[in-house]
Amino acid sequence: MKDHPRHARPHITRDEGLIFERSSPGKCGVDLGAPDVPPASASELLGEEYYRKEIPGFPEVSELEVIRHFTRLSTWNYGVDTGLYPLGSCTMKYNPRINEVVARLEGLATDHPYAPEEVTQGCLKVLHDTARCLAEITGMDAVSLQPAAGAQGELSGILIIQACLADRGNPRKYILVPDSAHGTNPASVATSGYQMRPLKSDAHGCIDPNELDRAMTDEVAGLMLTNPNTLGIFEVRIREICELVHRKGGLVYMDGANMNALVGIARPADFGADVMHLNLHKTFTTPHGGGGPGSGPVAVKKFLEPYLPSPMVVQAADGTYGLDYNRPKSIGRVRAFYGNFGMVVRALAYIAANGGEGLLETTQDAVLNANYVMRRLQDLYELPYNEPCMHECVLSDHRQAARGVHTVDIAKRLIDYGFHPYTTAFPLIVQGAMMIEPTESASKEDLDEFIDAMRAVAEEVEEDPEFVLKAPHTTRVSRLDEAGAARKPILRWKP
């Protein structure tokens, strides 16, 4: 088989067992010293009934060992800092370092949520400013920063629709969700108490207005759509679609996870969405952190503002900020306190670093990059929906599957080439989907390397499919036994 140029090589990395296996009695990673108050015997204060003698199996290690342990673990990870992370739908963009600095400033990182408003004006201002910026970017009128992640933003939004329609007399029963939707959409609908009704996409991967017209009965509360949709395609008839829903007494929820395609280009409020969420951990550069924390602000049109979660941050006439709990129509709280504040700080820092022009340039690069990848790969990989794409593109393994190699296998082989794989298996409407979102954080150089790798793998599939099926060949672990893990789950260490 031809030896294709790769942009990665194996290098020795340390093994590292579980921290519990390093433990030895008497070690400790902190020294606390004596308290400055008279000592008190916890066992006496608590008495036998309550007093716990020890936590069996808890680790005992020194500070150094903790540093080594997690440093070593970290080296087995791949992050945006490592390289291109073209994971479709995840918007793995650069996480600016200044954001990490400002989020850790004493005051912002330390203020207590129940401290009096007059001593937390800085935090409140950050919340208020960010809400205002997000309203400007989406064209919406009001924003709550409370939801902890996208899925919670979705739930909040659906509950808002419910509250509004209930106020109008009938909350109705169903929410329409296109079959291309992200898994959280149907799950959030289910959590809200609505029932989900799927909506079939048309030949262009988009919502079919006729289909929608049929589905949009008076039992349907609204439509939950994603724009650009999960194929990376802009719903060109969006206006018509929203009007249709509105005409039939429904409301339009927009999943804003793909806003990286639209910032500065088009505003959901302008094309008809009534309520939407944003993922600060996608569009607004707050780090994914290996799975969170995220932040999923929900933005609404004026008429939905009364339903937003409580409390809201408000600015008084004298310029001071405060929390407004007097919101009788609110859906209530979706979590404790005011949201993932630390993420909000980072998002605001990102917005301010860019300004309007910077954000527009960012969107342009994101879309340019995705189109470049799509066009340079479509001769070797099937392009199921041949439309200009926005921030991401979806190819498929159709041709490779004929040789027994599927999207997952190609993804794993990419690892040997030094890349994090694209998203596989999503959206569900594309069999063998390969969903590629380079984001604006990829340079042309990165993309060319990635494209070369993808093309090389396509060749390998022709020449030696078995080899690809066994990939990756250069990682610390080889293919793991998933089935065994699920059959007899081992979910914790035991001595």
């Binding site: 579980l18 004493e106 129940y114 998933e482 893990a485 699920a486």
Partner: protein, 478 residues
């Protein structure tokens, strides 16, 4: 823009390759009338130095110069330097969730474990640590926060019991109760409150009459919102006799280093912010949920499992993903996707650093300080500690006058003296919830007591019907 790695030349070359003559053409499919024509009215562009100045200014308008006796679900503990040093490694904080899996050829295939073994192993350790702390068999890899973890526990109990009625202690954090109300409202679930007894603990008699055969779960927090550590023996019996599940919420889990975990609980959930996660105005925090092995298939959120690779080496994968939204969609056990991984990592690092001895020593340290403060306050004439049950680092103090007034006086002394309870419990008008952690010095506590004393002296003088209002509050109808 400094974050963008494409040069003008790169862009021109790419456009040329695509056959476009301008960047505008990329967006030509978007109908003209819905294109945004204006300029976004946003701050910036700012240089990095300007960003720093902006946020320094904001950070300056904070409570950082104040000593804080605020707890109530958000606890200030010292965060060892190693925590942030490790969290700041790009491989951790700029990685994605290792969550994708595909149902391929009839079996589930995970995709990203090769490049996220670090996070996966750390999350497996988190699960173990939480299971050890709570005395449960298994724990998941985090939920949003204590409030949603408690709510998810309740949803889980509804699924497990197929019942639709929940009994909740009034001393569950009021905001957690609000969250539950939001989520359950539309499920037609009945929520029944149980008051606290004069000791501050759950009113067991009231519980007895509240719990019945339709009850899915009984939810109790410990230490509860009033600081009281609950006793579970009788409670658990009552709950289980009715076929319900006992859900215990812990939002100051440091207590678990010296307080027995609720061994008879079915689900122990809560908030792990205390473990190395900054208070940060209330978020991001890190919810946890631990339970018995037999309930694992109804758990919400991600689970990391241990397995082996083809060469027999240990490795970690996300497992039981068929519970989750990306596989099961509307039938998933929860809609959660992104969770609080990095905060869970912080907690993992923190717990490893402190370890068995350090965590216990710290808990004792907190307890000694809180009890010192409470004793000093109890000595102030007119001021009392109304609840007699054992407490950890947080307790209620009853003042002989308007609590908000007292808080303002403390504030003038640069002390945030506690949370006024009236806001959450109208019957606790002159009561403050006071939290004392290792971050507060004895000198501050002594100063705090002085302010209380002066306040008492002044209010005692003017007080008329004092004896009436000093009757233990728990006896009032809750």
């Amino acid at each position: 823009m400094r974050y963008l790695p494409n040069s003008p030349r790169d862009r021109a070359e790419m456009l040329r390759a695509l056959g476009y003559s301008s960047i505008e053409e990329l967006f030509s499919q978007i109908p003209e009338q819905i294109r945004f024509q204006g300029r976004l009215n946003l701050p910036g562009p700012l240089s990095e130095q300007e960003i720093l100045e902006f946020f320094r200014e904001a950070a300056g308008q904070s409570a950082r110069k104040y000593a804080s006796l605020l707890g109530a679900g958000a606890y200030s503990h010292y965060r060892p330097a190693a925590v942030d040093a490790l969290l700041s490694r790009g491989e951790f904080f700029t990685a994605y969730t290792p969550y994708q899996a595909e149902l391929a050829q009839g079996t589930l295939q995970a995709m990203f474990e090769f490049q996220t073994q670090g996070t996966l192993q750390a999350m497996f350790e988190f699960q173990t640590l939480i299971a050890q702390l709570t005395g449960m068999e298994v724990a998941n890899a985090s939920l949003y926060d204590g409030s949603t973890a408690t709510n998810e526990a309740v949803l889980m109990a509804l699924r497990l019991t197929r019942r639709n009625r929940v009994v909740v202690a009034k001393t569950l954090h009021p905001e957690y109760r609000e969250v539950m109300a939001t989520y359950l409202r539309h499920q037609g679930t009945e929520i029944v409150d149980v008051p606290y007894s004069p000791s501050g603990q759950l009113d067991v008699a009231a519980l007895e009459s509240a719990v019945n055969k339709e009850t899915a779960a009984v939810v109790v927090q410990s230490p509860n919102f009033l600081g009281a550590i609950e006793r579970f023996g009788e409670v658990a019996e009552l709950v289980h006799k009715n076929g319900a599940l006992l859900v215990v919420t812990v939002n100051e889990p440091l207590s678990l280093a010296i307080v027995n975990p609720p061994a008879d609980a079915d689900i122990v959930c809560g908030e792990a912010q205390s473990f190395g996660v900054p208070v940060a105005f209330g978020g991001p925090f890190v919810g946890f949920l631990a339970t018995r092995e037999k309930f694992v298939r109804q758990m919400p959120g991600r689970l990391v499992g241990q397995t082996t690779d083809t060469e027999g080496r240990r490795g970690f994968v996300l497992t039981l993903a068929t519970r989750e939204q990306h596989i099961r969609r509307e039938k998933a056990t929860s809609n959660i996707c992104t969770n609080q991984s990095l905060c869970a990592l912080a907690a993992t690092i923190y717990l490893c650093l402190l370890g068995k001895q350090g965590l216990k020593a710290l808990a004792e340290h907190n307890m000694a300080k809180a009890h010192y403060a409470a004793r000093q306050l109890a000595d102030v004439p007119g001021t009392s500690i109304p609840f007699a049950s054992p407490y950890f680092n947080e307790f209620v103090v009853k003042t002989p006058g308007n609590a908000d007034g007292l808080l303002r006086e403390l504030q003038a002394e640069k002390i945030l003296g506690g949370v006024s309870l009236e806001r959450f419990y109208p019957e606790l008008k002159e009561h403050l919830l006071v939290c004392v952690t290792e971050t507060v010095s004895k000198a501050t506590l002594d100063r705090m007591v002085e302010v209380h004393r002066n306040f008492s002296v002044r209010n005692e003088a003017g007080a008329g019907a004092r004896s009436a209002s000093s009757r233990p509050v728990g006896q009032e109808k809750a």
